[in-house]
Amino acid sequence: MPDPVSSQSVDQRAASVISARGLDLTFQTADGPVQALRDVNLEIGKGEFVSFIGPSGCGKTTFLRVIAALEHPTGGQITVNGMTPDEARKSRAYGYVFQAAGLYPWRTIEKNIKLPLEIMGFDAAEQDRRVKNVLQLVDLEGFGKKFPWQLSGGMQQRASIARALAFDADILLMDEPFGALDEIVRDHLNEQLLQLWARTEKTIGFVTHSIPEAVYLSTKIVVMSPRPGRITDVIESDLPRERPLDIRDTPEFLAIAHRVREGLRAGHAYDD
């Protein structure tokens, strides 16, 4: 098992999009400080698909939010495209997909997707063009005029992905986007997400609780452990980029899944 340090040095050859060094984050709560992240070091190269996996409360969401400048670290350094997260956000570096679809109920699907476009000042014709484009990308053509409640949970989640894609950010951050969906829908969306990633060459940060999902999607799997949240293993996947669903039965796939499981277990042992 290669140690985290050596696998990170491999990444640094690629152009680094997200780079975290010695990142600490402590929340000040009424019950005293809660350390959500401790000494997090990670390099994410351009075009990588990185999954974050770990037990509940290990700081996955927090780390994603730090990248998106929704939280600010209390120690260490993080750069996105060589800028601070705040600067990167102003330059529209990322689209963020929350765990809940979070579509605005008073807007149609189309208008929901237009929300970031309106805010960023795209003209009307360009807005229409992009909406059409991303609706096609997430396989929701014909649903643009519907309101969110008229769509199933999975369709809403795809609409929220379309919204994050609409302004064509280089980095897509997704926090358990398929967490609430059933296995079959999830498989389908995973396939679609991989195709989309292959087509658009975006850098994706993806939080999940599912080992098969992490292994199936990722070029890199970051295993985290709780109290305080830290990275215990970074696994480079050597699976081919072209991944049919049945790749999940191959020995290569199972070997990686096994290593992720070991990493998760090790994190717990350390904790006890």
């Binding site: 998106a68 400048a69 929704l70 956000r89 102003k90 529209r92 990322y94 689209g95 963020y96 929350f98 809940a100 979070g102 605005y104 109920p105 008073w106 807007r107 149609t108 929300l115 970031p116 309106e118 805010i119 960023m120 649903f143 519907k146 309101f147 969110p148 409640w149 008229q150 769509l151 199933s152 369709m155 302004f167």
Partner: protein, 332 residues
């Protein structure tokens, strides 16, 4: 992944369901109304009987129990008028009596018609409601966006509502009626004397109606969840954009709820304002003259007209709410 469930909601079955819902609602409503009317008649007879008995004794008349009841139900100045008396009066003063009448060569509103008075009350009510709503929304926007305003305005807004309006209404009326600017406007012929009387009414009406709007709108503008606000942050949206695209639409259902409370308060405000103005027109004036002359039937019919106005305004707002929320895609 089909949307077949959506059109199905508007199928032919919905008509039958609608009828069912109405008859389901009508029966209990009828029962309640019947009970109220019965209690009302009972109360009228009990309270008016004393006068009838008194008359019998003074004039040495002989009356059967049935005749006593009949008399108690049809007195000219009863303590508690009966429903049929009130509705006869309502009918006479709205339908029988002409709305306009010829006076000094011109056609004018007829003060014997209750609709004329309702008009004189409704107009300042709507004006005051409009001003109050506008101010309420403005204050709420300020409160939500500025911590200083949140700390300073809210206590004052609450305090303003603890002052008994009946106590300060005369003060407001006197002060406003003597405003030089207002008198000047009358002298210059810009506004009529009647319009001048409208100002203090609308002012007191807005004073009562702004508060529910402030409370409702503050709650509404703060109703977006953290995740909805975070989404805006990921787009680096400005405060203005967050307001127009998130806070304001999210507050609409809250706004309509408070508007319905607010319009009723505005109506009460106008009527209260009419009491000390010595106003000749308006439902409040009608209440006042009724009580001067012991015209209880007139008082009750004015009260009913006020209730009808309030109900009409609330129903109107409810219809507007339905239309707006439907356009905003609220699930039917």
């Amino acid at each position: 992944m089909s949307d077949a469930t959506v059109p199905a909601m508007f199928g032919p079955k919905s008509a039958a369901r609608w009828v069912g819902a109405v008859s389901g609602a009508v029966l209990p409503v009828m029962a309640v109304v019947a009970a109220i009317v019965a209690i009302w008649y009972g109360g009228s007879v009990m309270m008016n009987r004393a006068w009838t008995l008194d008359q019998i004794e003074r004039r040495g008349l002989e009356m059967t129990a049935m005749e006593i009841v009949a008399d108690a139900m049809n007195q000219e100045r009863p303590v508690l008028p009966t429903p049929h008396q009130v509705f006869a009066e309502l009918w006479d003063t709205t339908v029988v009596e002409p709305v306009m009448r010829e006076r000094r060569g011109t056609l004018q509103g007829n003060p014997r018609n209750l609709l004329f008075h309702a008009y004189h009350t409704l107009w300042p009510t709507i004006l005051g409601f409009g001003v109050g709503t506008f101010l309420g929304i403005l204050l709420a926007v300020g409160i939500v966006h500025s911590r200083a305003m949140d700390m300073s305005v809210m206590p004052w807004a609450i305090a303003s509502q603890t002052i008994p309006i009946l106590a300060i209404a005369p003060i407001i009326v006197v002060v406003v009626s003597n405003l030089p600017a207002l008198n000047n406007a009358v002298d210059q012929g810009w506004i009529s004397e009647d319009t001048k009387l409208l100002v203090p009414k609308a002012l007191i009406s807005s004073y009562l109606s702004f508060f529910p709007v402030v409370v409702g709108m503050v709650a509404g503008l703060r109703s977006p969840q953290v995740s909805d606000l975070d989404l805006m942050r990921t787009y680096s949206a400005s405060r203005g954009q967050t307001f127009w695209k998130l806070r304001l639409p999210a507050s609409v259902p809250f706004l309509f709820t408070s508007l319905k409370v607010s319009i009723a308060a505005a109506l009460v405000g106008t009527i209260v304002a009419e009491l000390p103005t010595g106003a000749r027109f308006g439902l409040g004036a009608r209440l006042l003259t009724g009580s001067y002359y012991g015209q209880t039937i007139q008082i009750w019919s004015a009260l009913f007209m006020a209730a009808i106005c309030a109900a009409a305004l609330v129903i109107l707002l409810g219809a507007l709410e339905k239309i707006v929320l439907k356009r905003m895609g609220v699930r039917p």
